[in-house]
């Protein structure tokens, strides 16, 4: 991701941090330590180079530029699909199964979860109302995933009796 920002032109570490936070952070900013650790790794692998060094010490004096190798690496990363996450281990399923196995009310567990999901979806929808397109798209990403959870939850709610028999064995 840092390579993507560097392709536009050389930057200092702190500039990269601020640009990343502004564009992609959405309330969760990158730590400086993480930025400098990543830059050190990219430097070691020849994907970036130090473009200028100002007088004085410390890592924030260096300005970094992307190398040709770095551009090739960025090309490759952008052209590769992300692995579709299989999510075969979910805490939610484990909770439902354990509730059924122990004779606790699984329907209530799903009702409580639905309410929590919908409350978060309302927050994200409100975020979209006042946001730019980038905010809308990232909120939509979260909204569609939460909606997928809820669809699973309804399907599970409709099959609880069957599941109860199965986990009782």
């Amino acid at each position: 991701m840092l390579l993507g920002l560097l392709e536009d032109g050389p930057r200092h570490g702190y500039e990269l941090k601020h640009e990343y936070d502004e564009r992609f952070g959405r309330g969760r900013s990158l730590a400086f330590g993480q930025i400098y650790a990543t830059l050190a790794r990219l430097l070691r692998n020849g994907l970036v180079e130090v473009d200028a060094v100002e007088a004085g010490g410390g890592p924030d004096r260096k300005r970094y530029a992307i190398t040709d190798l770095g551009i090739t690496d960025l090309d490759q990363w952008l052209s590769q699909p992300e692995p579709p996450a299989p999510h075969l281990q979910t805490v939610l399923f484990t909770k439902v199964a354990l509730a059924l196995m122990s004779g606790r009310p699984a329907t209530e567990l799903l009702d409580v979860q639905r309410r929590a999901h919908l409350a978060r979806m309302r927050e994200l929808t409100a975020l979209k109302a006042g946001g730019d397109l980038a905010t809308t798209l990232i909120a939509d990403y979260a909204l569609f995933h939460l909606e997928a959870d809820l669809r699973w939850l309804e399907l599970t709610a409709a099959r609880l009796d069957k599941l109860a028999k199965e986990v009782a064995r």
Partner: protein, 225 residues
């Protein structure tokens, strides 16, 4: 709680199917409430009872201090026309009338003159971003355009309550979002209550809160442990 619209212990049977099995809900003026639940849970039946379209076999509905279930059909019709607005999934526009005439219809039925009614209808079409479509017939509109016209018609009379039954059910995500945004913005700016039936969580997320139905009953809120 100072509810504008209340349902108490509603029961409604269709043949051998029990659609409502003791539903109670209270909704305040200006609230936007999503009614959710699986197919057959009784969502639409509840909405039709709350709107005075359908009478329950048992239980009562109170709107602004009046027992809806005890009004005559004529009084309920007048209430629906003057104080309620409706948006459904399909087929709600009168096919013989233009989009503008469709939006003006509730005003005309309430006795507003043609010129004033059409002027106000035009303002609503503009607000719903379909001002250019006023002269078109419903058959010439896309699904999203038709729903915007329907929302304009539901709101033109400044109703106290808008009842919307799967208003985005036939639309793609982008059009559905736009229709919801326009409906909710307009309702909030006027303090209009919206009772929204939907099975889509993303649509329900536009509401202030949701009530969830299962087997004809509203699942009471359970506090998280």
């Amino acid at each position: 709680m100072n509810a504008l619209l209340t349902a108490r212990d509603l029961h409604r049977r269709f043949g051998r199917t029990l659609a409502l099995a003791g539903s109670s809900v209270e909704i305040e003026a200006g609230e936007i409430v999503a009614v959710m639940g699986p197919s057959g849970a009784g969502k639409s039946t509840l909405l039709h009872c709350l709107a005075g379209i359908l009478l329950p076999d048992q239980g009562e509905m109170v709107y602004a201090g009046r027992r809806l279930d005890q009004l005559s059909e004529r009084e309920r019709s007048r209430l629906r026309r003057d104080e309620f607005g409706f948006v459904f999934q399909f087929g709600q526009l009168v096919p013989e009338l233009s989009a503008l005439e469709n939006v003006a219809l509730p005003l005309r039925l309430g006795g507003t003159g043609r010129r004033e009614a059409e002027q106000r209808a035009e303002e609503w079409l503009e607000r719903l971003e379909v001002a250019a479509l006023g002269r078109k017939q419903p058959g010439e509109l896309s699904g999203g355009e038709g729903q915007r016209v329907a929302v304009a018609r539901a709101l033109v009379n400044h109703p106290q309550v808008v009842f919307a039954d799967e208003p985005t059910g036939a639309l793609d995500s982008l059009n559905g979002e736009r229709v919801m945004t326009l409906l909710v913005d307009a309702a909030r700016s006027r303090g209009t209550m919206v009772v929204l039936v939907t099975h889509e969580p993303r649509v329900a997320a536009y509401a202030d809160r949701e009530v969830f139905m299962r087997d004809g009953r509203i699942v009471s809120p359970v506090l998280a442990a």
